[in-house]
Symmetry: C2
Subunit: 452 residues, 2 copies
């Protein structure tokens, strides 16, 4: 937000070599967190370890906070375990659990942690990611329903410095078995008398979510209620934690980001260029291999019609255009379907509705491009049959591809797979095959052999 | 969260026809908001107007809330202006401004609104979208620095019902000219005496952001500070509103979603299948046309080498495989670059670094697939030169495509364009051209004419 002294990789390395703690700290604090994270990932392992030895644990945690969890875990696992533990203590409870799940040697770290942190992180880690339990934090206030307003105020006063970094709006009221019985907005305490009992003052039967609630239902819960945080309970209604609206929104953003990678044929959730070479190859190679097989299946259609192609070699120029246009049209429909599914604007069984909607757009665009392509063919070869073949093939392929791209994500969703698995690469190969088939079969039918 | 009575389109139409207000209201409230929104967009214009005439304005606003802004604006614009105005009054201030900007006939609506709402929405609407000013809400508490704690508590008490739906954690303290001078956490009021002056009690010089701050910098501001909301000021430090963390996270999620559509070749921000046919064609046709031109440029390479292809017709089978693999590899690199740019893990000028990182992964995968494809060619035609040509062409094309896919988004960003404009369709055509060139030039060089 202000003009910070420029931090670049060279300067960072200089300060590291000279062990200039204060200057390092000041520069990193002055740069944006993402800038610090970017530079961090440009350092090699030894430099990173040396940086974290120099920096206070709080600052190190804030830097790591900016990385993807998988990267932060990788960096932590490279550090001496005592250092890693000190940094780990500075994370929020839900991040501790997330990181712990990703660490290759979690047990060593757990042994080095304070018992409270270790136990809490282990417990939180039992909840599945992308559920309320996985998102929740344990930094919340809970008071017995037998306490009174003055008890809460005194507790807040006594822990003012600890609570100052928590995001608190509510106090949750529990009974003797830690079952959630009510909620109290902290600012409403202002309107109460010191001796009022919490039981009288609280709003009973508050909105709560079970620990197993998945991300999409959490989104609905927050859509429906204006709260910034919602309490999470177990099957016996015991209070486990609080899930914050901002964490749910953040998870949605990450999900949309990962979807882009998956649709583009990058597996494994995420890829960063700072990952090592082998990991990156592993995230890309499988999709390329699948696509290679499909692509050969498509190309074999050309092999079957080699004679036709030898007769009408001009068709070789149009084949990639026809198949490519199908691929594009399919990708467009694919993206719209993936998005509408994630927004729940379409249901997995509504394939007919989607086909209807795609067909009309596919036919319009298909006919438009067919006219163009047929005209180009005519100008080039002055052969009305060639024009007819390529025009019809392109119109058909664009329409079919739009329908396929539209419904494949729905089918995947119905089979409980990630709709984004209908990745561009796979669909493109299918559309290639259709395009080749349309063009070559039509040519075979409409263009007499050796006519050109 | 509970088992609601099933709401489906048929039942909704029935209740509408019978004007069953209470049942409609109960059913919509019981269904998830996104389910309600999905059904809403399946109704025709007349049915929608009739639904909104029956529903209370609050319920109608909640339904519209679930739609994309462009859709909500479309629905509002179909309604009688008095009805639209009544619903409009129920939105949060920042949504009112967003919708107003999208309405075709905003003036008519403004005339029907209460003067306070009309003025506020117009003022908020002056700020650019995707800036702090565009995101901020005007539902916040501000008190004079001359007031005392008791004044705030009395104000809270007097407006308890109005404030109960606001998301308040802080009171902002302003001087006589409405300049922001401090902030006070509401729950800290508990720790103060009634007669303490706000000037003494407040934290002076609070974190604040200028109204012009763009989304990515807002993200940094929230990364750096744990607050759920940050005050927005104008150039003279006058308090204008509050931007909430959840709204910023939500905007990021929407941005990532739109990126998927743009990369897939759907223009114009968003497309929903419930949009009318013409709008949907317009969002897809331009990209298809651009892609058609590029695709012909690529195919013309085949035209130039028709003779070579006639000599080695087997190559016609491999051409789509070679070009397709390049397209896939390019898309993978493209998605990683778009993501790293948006996370600011790579800077637009770091093209060399990206090329280095992509080249190593591209070469690895390229060689892997080259071996496979060369082996297939050998098994089919037993011609070592054909194997060599297709193997080399595929390795080259995969590597070049990975580099291109990696750097094109960086170049677009440098030219201040959206990196996602390097859409799959366009890049695919470029990779097609490279693939054809590699294969046909190599064949021309390595395979003597008429040898097969």
């Amino acid at each position: 937000m202000s003009h910070a002294p420029q931090l670049n990789l060279g300067r960072l390395r200089e300060l590291l070599a000279d062990q200039q703690q204060e200057q390092l700290q000041a520069l990193l604090r002055a740069s944006t967190p993402s800038e610090g994270a970017r530079l961090l990932m440009r350092l090699d392992d030894a430099e990173r370890a040396s940086l974290f030895t120099i920096l206070p644990a709080e600052d190190a945690a804030q830097l790591l906070n900016e990385l993807a969890d998988s990267q932060a875990a990788e960096v932590l696992s490279e550090l001496p375990v005592e250092l890693a533990a000190a940094i780990f203590e500075c994370f929020r409870s839900n991040q501790q659990a997330d990181l712990l799940a990703l660490l290759p040697d979690a047990d060593a770290l757990l042994a080095a942690l304070s018992p409270v942190t270790a136990q809490r992180a282990t417990q939180l880690g039992r909840h599945s990611p992308n559920t309320a339990g996985g998102f929740m934090v344990t930094e919340f206030l809970a008071y017995s329903d037998r306490a009174c307003v003055a008890d809460v105020i005194n507790a807040l006063r006594a822990n003012a410095s600890k609570y100052s970094r928590w995001q608190l709006q509510y106090a949750y009221i529990v009974d003797g078995d830690r079952r959630l019985v009510g909620v109290l907005r902290l600012r409403d305490l202002l309107l109460l008398d010191d001796q009022d009992s919490l039981h009288q003052a609280m709003t009973p039967d508050p909105v709560r979510v079970p620990a197993e609630m998945p991300l999409n239902e959490l989104t609905h819960a927050f859509d429906r209620h204006p709260y910034l945080g919602v309490p999470v309970v177990d099957a016996a209604n015991r209070l486990l934690g609080v899930v914050l609206r901002a964490d749910v929104e953040e998870a949605l953003a990450e999900q949309a980001d990962r979807r882009l990678l998956l649709v583009s044929g990058v597996l494994g959730g995420d890829e960063y260029r700072s990952m090592n070479w082998g990991d990156r190859v592993l995230r890309r190679a499988p999709w390329l291999l699948v696509s290679l097989v499909l692509s050969f299946a498509a190309a074999s259609v050309i092999g079957l019609y080699q004679e036709t192609l030898l007769d009408v070699i001009a068709l070789a120029v149009f084949l990639p255009v026809i198949s490519g246009m199908g691929g594009n049209s399919g990708n467009q429909a694919l993206a719209v379907s993936i998005r509408e599914l994630s927004l729940e604007l379409v249901r997995p069984h509504e394939t007919l509705w989607v086909v209807g909607k795609e067909l009309i757009v596919g036919l319009t665009n298909g006919l438009l491009l067919a006219l163009l392509v047929a005209a180009i063919a005519w100008l080039w070869k002055r052969d009305i049959r060639l024009s007819a073949v390529v025009g019809m093939a392109i119109a058909l392929n664009i329409s079919v591809a739009a329908c396929l791209g539209g419904i494949v994500p729905l089918l995947l969703k119905r089979w409980r797979l990630d709709p984004a698995l209908a990745a561009g690469p796979v669909l493109a190969a299918v559309n290639d095959m259709c395009g080749f088939l349309f063009a070559l079969v039509l040519a075979d039918l409409l263009i007499p052999q050796s006519s050109m």
